[in-house]
């Protein structure tokens, strides 16, 4: 094996530049001056054009910051860190180094802070970054829960309050749930399909480096004069147009995160379609691959819509266009239609990868084939299609055309059918299995049960009359947290624990993992279940003050939310200590059949020393003599011959 590994094309790293030339080499020394340079170019453009046109004032700081800091400086940052080096050389006709794999794989912790083209490194970069933003968003939640513990104003003024909950939601959605799934998939998908890497490794690296830009933009909006963007993560116009200037930070933050999302999704699509190992037909793909395939289709089709909606809002503010200015014929509801045309599919973008993870974990930990594999894959496709026909259920009380409500209700309720199929199939998979209640399995089963509650409240909200009463109340807050926290977050944890031995080569501490699950499970339910009650009773959302009759529940919720927040410390501690000092895990601690477990932990730098031949389904547990893949150089060779003819 080692011999083969050394034969892979892997040029030794070039000697690093010395002296002053180091500031020209891609890396953190080039970042500051390139960022400043590009900001300067933006500033020069704005000031120069305004001076030429004779506009007053020449130094309009809102425009300068929007162009210089939110658009140009990030490009400078990316250029400085080296995300464009290969393409720039290529475009200029200078010699490129296609065989230079010095930016591939991590040899020390420093390699995680460089532009790295290895999907395994990028996957870990994604996960660590997103967990950072998850913790930041969680802390914001605890700050405004402290405010909400009692009625009346306590610590925060209304601007701070609105800014905090808006940034909280934006970070959790755009910088945690969506990219955390992308990170897990980045690590796992190429291994799972038997590919040496993603189809476009440089694009992959670029799409990772867009994320910190988006995250820092949204975080720093809280420090903008006037306060953080306070129109919620939904950023409804016209409030987002007339609100504080920091709304532009949100508009552009979404663009950078969205661009990252689209690039990754394209990469996944091409990788999954073209780079599967021989023998891996679509009907032999693990369900996580199916899940990321459908998710990527959703991302590619839907994300441009939110990009459009945010550009329109930004143009209304900066360029005085009138997309949503009703005084000048703008169409206020248009924002919601465009926004939700993305943001409802986005719910499934945040859910389908979790479905995939749950399928992997539940099948392996039950030691049984997944129940109804084909129907499981088809229901993903059904959700993909139906997901585009339900967006206006967020707008039942918005004043849109009234006739649209019933058809949107029907499609919304119908989407419960494929979702139900998945839930019942997971349960049937556990039936008569040999259940190993490890931490990933606990999170997967916790996901199924919590997601059922979120799904059922979703059915309630799908019924128009109930939605009319509950929309924009705390019932909605409860629903989205059951779906996104009980659903997405639980599966993200299941995935992190499940693949932790593969990523690090070490085993996490099982007792701490179980402790983490139970603390989170209890804290989560104590925090969010009561929100159903106060919502139906009449407490509206996005308020810092509320009538005293909700005081008792809110105090309870706030205390529970601090408990929930504290539970994640167990996770962070477990991850750090186990990564450094955990016992060695071996290549396949779960006795899983899928391909990523058939290579060493962590996997070799180009994943597979020999290309696997897929000979069967991925979940054939309990089937006598069944194999998912065989590793046999001669047979692989034979297959290549067959394919060439």
């Amino acid at each position: 094996m080692t011999e083969l590994a050394e034969q892979t094309p892997h040029a030794p790293p070039k000697p690093p530049p010395t002296g002053w030339r180091r500031v020209l080499a891609p890396g953190w020394l080039r970042v500051p001056w390139m960022t400043a340079l590009f900001f300067g170019i933006g500033l020069g453009l704005v000031v120069g054009l305004r001076a030429l046109a004779g506009w007053d004032p020449v130094f309009n700081w809102l425009i300068i910051v929007s162009i210089g800091a939110l658009i140009m400086a990030p490009i400078g940052f990316l250029a400085g860190i080296g995300a464009f080096d290969y393409w720039v050389k290529y475009a200029l006709g200078r010699p490129t180094e296609p065989e230079d794999h010095s930016g591939h794989g991590a040899r020390s912790w420093r390699d995680y802070f460089r532009v790295n083209t290895d999907h395994k490194v990028i996957g870990i970069q994604y996960l660590v970054t997103t967990i950072f933003f998850f913790l930041a968003g969680g802390m914001m939640a605890m700050i405004f829960r402290a405010e909400l513990a009692k009625p009346g104003a306590q610590y925060l003024d209304p601007q701070e309050y609105n800014g905090l909950f808006s940034v909280h939601a934006a970070l959790m959605i755009f910088l945690f749930v969506i990219p955390a799934f992308a990170g897990l998939a980045n690590f796992v998908i190429p291994l799972m399909i038997g590919a040496p890497d993603m189809a476009f490794p440089r694009l992959n690296a670029l799409s990772y480096w867009l994320l910190p830009i988006a995250g820092i933009m949204m975080l720093s909006s809280l420090a903008v004069p006037g306060g953080g963007f306070g129109a919620g993560w939904t950023g409804y116009a016209p409030l987002s147009v007339v609100g504080t200037d920091s709304n532009v930070w949100f508009n552009m933050g979404v663009q950078w995160a969205g661009a990252s999302s689209i690039m990754t999704a394209l990469n996944f699509l091409v990788t999954i379609i073209t780079m599967r190992a021989p023998g891996m037909t679509f009907w032999r793909m693990p369900l996580l691959v199916w899940a990321n395939f459908t998710t990527s289709l959703l991302v590619v089709l839907a994300t441009p819509f939110i990009a459009g909606s945010q550009f329109f809002v930004m143009f209304d503010r900066l360029m005085h266009t009138n997309f949503f200015n009703y005084h000048a014929g703008g169409y206020v509801l248009g924002y919601q239609h465009i926004f939700w045309f993305y943001s409802h599919p986005a719910v499934y973008i945040m859910m389908l990868p979790g479905f995939g993870i749950a399928s992997e974990v539940i099948s392996v930990m039950s030691r049984k084939p997944i129940f109804g594999y084909r129907l499981m894959a088809l229901s993903l496709c059904a959700i993909l299609v139906l997901g585009f026909s339900v967006w206006a259920h967020h707008m039942f009380v918005s004043g849109m055309a009234p006739w649209l409500r019933v058809p949107m209700m029907i499609t919304t309720l119908l989407i419960a059918v494929p979702t139900g199929i998945k839930v019942f199939s997971w349960l049937a998979t556990t039936w008569e299995g040999r259940l190993h209640l490890t931490t990933p399995m606990l999170f997967a089963l916790g996901f199924v049960s919590m997601f059922v509650i979120g799904g059922l409240s979703g059915i309630m909200l799908g019924a128009v009359p109930i939605d009319i009463h509950t929309s924009d109340s705390y019932f909605i807050v409860a629903h989205i947290h059951y779906v996104l926290l009980g659903g997405s977050l639980f599966t993200i944890f299941a995935g992190i624990y499940y693949w932790f031995p593969k990523m690090t080569g070490r085993m996490y501490n099982e007792r701490l993992g179980k402790l983490h699950f139970w603390l989170t499970f209890i804290g989560f339910n104590a925090t969010f279940f009561p929100m159903h009650i106060i919502g139906v009773e009449g407490m509206n959302r996005r308020v810092y003050d509320y009538p005293p009759r909700f005081a008792a529940w809110n105090m309870f919720i706030s205390l529970a939310s601090f408990f929930l927040g504290a539970s994640f410390m167990v996770f962070v501690y477990n991850m750090i200590v186990s990564w450094l000092r955990g016992p060695l895990a071996g290549s396949n601690p779960w006795r899983s059949m899928t391909l990523e477990w058939q290579v060493s932990s962590p996997p070799p730098i180009f994943n597979f020393d020999e290309i696997p031949q897929i000979v069967g389904g991925p979940y054939e547990y309990g089937v006598e003599g069944a194999r998912h893949a065989v590793f046999n150089g001669e047979r692989v060779h034979g297959v290549e011959e067959v394919q060439r003819t």
Binding site: Y236, L239, R367, K368, V417, I468, S473, Y546, Y621
Partner: protein, 242 residues
């Protein structure tokens, strides 16, 4: 499947459903229902809750039973039976939810249509929302304006909602009905109050810094009381344009 297993799963399911039912019944969920439209909404609400409780019962039963009965020690290396699926079951859990959601959709559509019907003798109120206040105008009574929404017990009101700046939303939890007020268009909402008393109107669409405090009193009166109040308002507003 063995008989004993079925009995035990059903028992767990009934227990889980009983717990969920207790949560639904013994915790005060919906506020007092004080409009005709609210009654229909509540009916749909409890109907769907009943379906949800039964689904929850099934899921909880199977999950709990599986976890308790099928868990093995960590060193158990055996595999489960290679069951790949069961066409009958798969058809069942596709068909039954389809039927259930269809019933929910039909009921909801009927309730929605009923609640959207406007009567000819209705009271009309022009509601204007702005950051961060509500104003109410009574065009059938000379167009006087008030900061309180006064309604008549048993008489349907049609609210014509407008907004002067950003989106707001009209919600009185006791009436159940809700509608956004959108700048540039007029939206409509029908409510038939059934009980005399005072309630609070709250804004339910984030509208800026004063969103939390954008409230207004809603007072339901008898026909006679209302007429008297309207007359006094008309006299008070005479001479002022509006």
């Amino acid at each position: 499947m063995r008989r004993g297993a079925i009995v035990r799963v059903v028992t767990i399911g009934l227990l889980a459903a009983a717990v969920a039912t207790a949560v639904a019944l013994f915790i005060p969920w919906l506020p007092a229902d004080e409009s005709k439209e609210g009654g229909r909404i509540d009916f749909v609400f409890w109907f769907v809750v009943a379906i949800c409780i039964s689904v929850f019962g099934v899921v909880a039963a199977v999950t709990i039973y599986s976890v308790v009965n099928f868990r093995v020690r960590p060193d158990d290396d055996s595999d489960g039976p290679p069951i790949h699926g069961h066409t009958g079951l798969e058809i069942a859990w596709t068909a039954i939810p389809t039927v259930l959601v269809t019933v929910i959709a039909i009921l909801s559509a009927v309730a929605l249509a009923e609640n959207g019907r406007l009567k000819s003798n209705r009271l009309v109120v022009d509601v204007t929302a702005q950051q961060f206040a509500w104003h109410f105008k009574y065009p059938q009574y000379g167009g006087f304006q008030s900061d309180q929404l006064r309604l008549v017990e048993g008489r349907q009101v049609e609210l014509r909602l407008r907004s002067l700046d950003v989106i707001h939303s009209f919600w009185v939890p006791e009436f159940r009905q809700k509608q956004d007020a959108v700048p540039g268009i007029v939206t409509h909402l029908g409510i038939t109050p059934t009980k005399v008393g005072t309630r609070t109107l709250i804004c339910t669409e984030l509208c800026g810094l004063g969103h939390a405090l954008m409230r207004a009193p809603v007072i339901v009166m008898t026909e006679a009381q209302f007429d008297e109040w309207a007359r006094s308002q008309q006299q008070g507003s005479e001479g002022t344009p509006g």
